[in-house]
């Protein structure tokens, strides 16, 4: 933080910022390893928002307008995606650093959210399909080639604003472009809202796992007998209160017993960027503890 802020003000040079990033990433990797996580993230530490490196790689107009990120005190630069989309022309900054252990997770905006958050003069569903095929798929392929076994698509838009019934078919089309012949697990994660009303449609999406925000969603609304994985957002990325280990384990057990997903992934309900580092670290550790306990229980 201090380095990037200093760089903006001309008080720190680029080398110092690089060193600070490397140090922070190393610390985050150590934390994930120590916590016993199964899939490793680079924490998107260099991403100023979820769209920025993609917009840069597209060579699109530099985004200017700041827009509130849902109901948080965080803002993103609104991507300007009018006219025809060019393909991504580089993957700089889009893939996890080589120092991140494998298996890795690649986190990207869902094509639905990307198409809704952008400023555009185009039909948003057509833009969504184009984003999936032209922008996200090449990045996903590059990520898989770089050791990502899990591709995690973030979609707070559906959770927060909802989705019209006519938009599900184009969304399935867009996700099919990402899922076809993909040699990694594709997860679609709805958060910042109640996924309950959308569960039936979500389960029909061509992805391997569905993520839900359990701070906002009733566990009893998820149904049962899933033929997909469930990314269970059991750690609240917007609260500084540390979750009870017992409660978290109980919820995970309940999900395993009733929803019976093909795979159960324990996760935070949203990104952890809304938490100070110290708090986020405690949450990652708690996540690891909970996963370890649940695995023990399941293996008994």
């Amino acid at each position: 933080m201090a380095s990037t802020r200093g760089l903006d003000r001309g008080r720190v040079d680029a080398d110092a910022v690089e060193a600070a990033f490397a140090e922070d990433l190393a610390a985050f990797v150590r934390l994930q390893q120590k916590s016993g996580l199964d899939v490793f993230s680079d924490g998107l530490l260099r991403w100023q928002d979820i769209f920025r490196p993609l917009v840069d790689a597209l060579g699109a107009a530099k985004p200017e307008s700041l827009v509130r990120w849902f109901d948080t005190n965080t803002f993103f630069r609104e991507p300007e995606l009018s006219g025809a989309l060019a393909g991504v022309n580089h993957a700089d900054g889009l893939l996890p650093d080589a120092s991140v252990p494998r298996p890795r997770v690649a986190t990207l905006p869902s094509p639905f959210m990307f198409s809704r958050a952008a400023r555009t003069d185009r039909d948003r569903n057509q833009l969504m399909v184009d984003l999936a095929g032209t922008v996200l798929r090449p990045v996903v392929d590059a990520a898989v080639a770089a050791g990502c076994q899990l591709v995690h698509l973030e979609d707070p838009w559906i959770g927060y604003f909802g989705i019209e019934s006519k938009d599900w078919a184009p969304l399935r089309e867009a996700l099919e472009l990402l899922h076809r012949d993909l040699r990694a697990t594709l997860a679609f994660h709805v958060y910042f809202g109640d996924a309950g009303p959308h569960v039936d449609q979500l389960r029909r999406l061509p992805v391997d796992a569905i993520g839900v925000d359990l701070v906002e969603t009733d566990v009893n609304e998820l149904g049962s007998g899933w033929d997909k994985g469930l990314v269970a957002g059991v750690i609240d990325g917007r609260s500084s209160m540390l979750e009870s280990l017992e409660n978290t384990v109980e919820v995970a057990r309940h999900l395993a017993d009733t929803v019976r997903p093909r795979n159960l992934y324990l996760s935070s309900n949203c990104e952890l960027a809304f938490l100070p580092t110290v708090v986020a670290e405690q949450k990652v550790q708690r996540l690891g503890e909970a996963a370890k306990r649940v695995k023990q229980l399941v293996s008994v």
């Binding site: 933080m1 990037t4 802020r5 760089l7 903006d8 003000r9 008080r11 100023q48 928002d49 200017e64 307008s65 700041l66 827009v67 509130r68 109901d71 948080t72 005190n73 965080t74 803002f75 993103f76 630069r77 109640d194 309950g196 359990l214 701070v215 906002e216 969603t217 009733d218 566990v219 009893n220 609304e221 059991v234 609240d236 609260s239 500084s240 209160m241 979750e243 009870s244 409660n247 978290t248 109980e250 919820v251 309940h254 960027a273 809304f274 938490l275 100070p276 580092t277 110290v278 708090v279």
Partner: protein
């Protein structure tokens, strides 16, 4: 300042923050000062005609600084920022919040009931420090009195004091006191209901026990215009009534002119809730961030300003602090662009007395050079608008 200040046509003012000069930041942090820092202090002192600025240069040459000297440096920084705003020709000024750490942190660190938790990103490489409420909230000591008393003694122009509002403080804080039940096995609807009730208690406690006594202290010192900053007001669209209740609980019955600052939101969300905010005599709102940079005074030319009609129709007829400068960009708005934004608003309101002219928000993310140019062009643009409207130049 007269109580009818809110009816001064096309009055200009800044919103709140300005960047802190390098010499002020380094000196306060105990870091060595470079020749460049001293030159910055000298050049701006000369440019802004800061009285006796040579004394500052002399002081800066005598590091390390005692606690008293650091306080003195903060006052110098306040004086420089005040003179920057006066030099840009603003009608109403303050000090760019030079003596505060930051709008949120300054408030909670002078209050009982909060503990700091650390920093998070707001946007780009900008961060803010968050605290958690952990105990009953109260005002430890009035936390704007010292700066206000100093500014009264050195300002030539009128003063407006920016004060962070209750809703924003709550929204930017973690809650470790009111809503601590996180059992995900409970029905989600029950959890949501408890969360909302807890939030209401939290916000109103800040309004009553923190903001209101602080405002009373400022009024006791002679403050006549207090701007309650609420950049977080529309964060939760279903809590706008709570935001309004917190504003009213903060100011009800107090004798001063109160305004509020809103920014970076879908402003449509504020209606109809703010129809109940009749003690708010001005809404200072950021629009330029959403607007075109092309000239023109038609609806088509001014897409960022369409919502102002709703502010015009408020039954208690407050003024609108019209944000005409994008504070997230180094783009320098031309006087002509400012003029056209102002003329568009005057046409919608049908009354220039209800239009004040401001940046979208505090300018702390811009360099002083950029901020000064933007503000000068803003006042130049207002002069063009006055000319167009046949208004006389206001007497200070």
């Amino acid at each position: 300042m007269s109580v009818d200040l809110d009816h001064k046509p096309l009055l200009t003012h800044e919103i709140g923050s300005l960047d802190k000069p390098g010499w002020r930041v380094k000196a306060y942090a105990g870091q060595p000062l470079s020749d460049r820092d001293l030159e910055e202090a000298r050049a701006w002192g000369e440019r802004l005609k800061v009285p006796d600025y040579e004394r500052l240069i002399d002081l800066l040459r005598h590091a390390p600084f005692s606690k008293e000297q650091k306080s003195d440096l903060q006052r110098w920084s306040s004086l420089y920022a005040l003179k920057l705003e006066e030099g840009a020709g603003l009608d109403v000024v303050y000090d760019g919040e030079q003596q505060r750490t930051e709008m949120y942190d300054w408030a909670v660190s002078h209050s009982d009931g909060f503990e700091r938790r650390g920093s998070v990103r707001a946007f780009d490489n900008k961060y803010y420090t968050k605290a958690a409420v952990v105990a009953p909230i109260s005002l430890r000591t009035p936390f704007h009195n010292a700066e206000f008393s100093y500014l009264v003694s050195v300002a030539d122009a009128e003063l407006k004091i920016p004060v962070t509002g209750a809703y924003t403080i709550a929204d930017w804080s973690f809650d470790e006191r009111y809503d601590v039940d996180t059992d995900l096995r409970e029905p989600a609807a029950d959890r949501r209901r408890k969360r909302k009730a807890a939030r209401r208690d939290f916000v109103l406690e800040i309004a009553r026990n923190l903001i209101r006594p602080n405002l009373m202290a400022l009024i006791g010192l002679g403050a006549r215009w207090i701007q309650v900053d609420e950049p977080g007001a529309s964060t939760e669209p279903d809590e706008l009534d709570l935001f309004v209740d917190s504003f009213n609980a903060s100011v009800e019955g107090l004798n001063a002119m109160f305004s509020t600052h809103l920014c970076f939101s879908d402003y449509n969300l504020f209606f109809p809730a703010i129809e109940r905010m009749s003690q708010c005599r001005q809404f200072a709102v950021g629009f330029a961030n959403y607007d075109s940079r092309e000239l023109g005074t038609t609806d088509q030319a001014r897409p960022g300003y369409h919502v102002i009609k709703k502010f015009a129709d408020l039954p208690y007829k407050p003024a609108l602090g019209l944000g005409v400068l994008d504070i997230h960009s180094d783009f320098i708005e031309s006087p002509e662009l400012v003029r056209d934004r102002v003329l568009y608003a005057v046409n919608v309101f049908g009354d220039p007395a209800r239009i004040h002219v401001t940046p979208d928000c505090g300018l702390r993310t811009r360099s002083w050079e950029v901020a000064f140019k933007k503000l000068r062009n803003m006042t130049a643009g207002v002069a063009l608008a006055r000319q167009e409207l046949g208004l006389k130049d206001p007497a200070r």
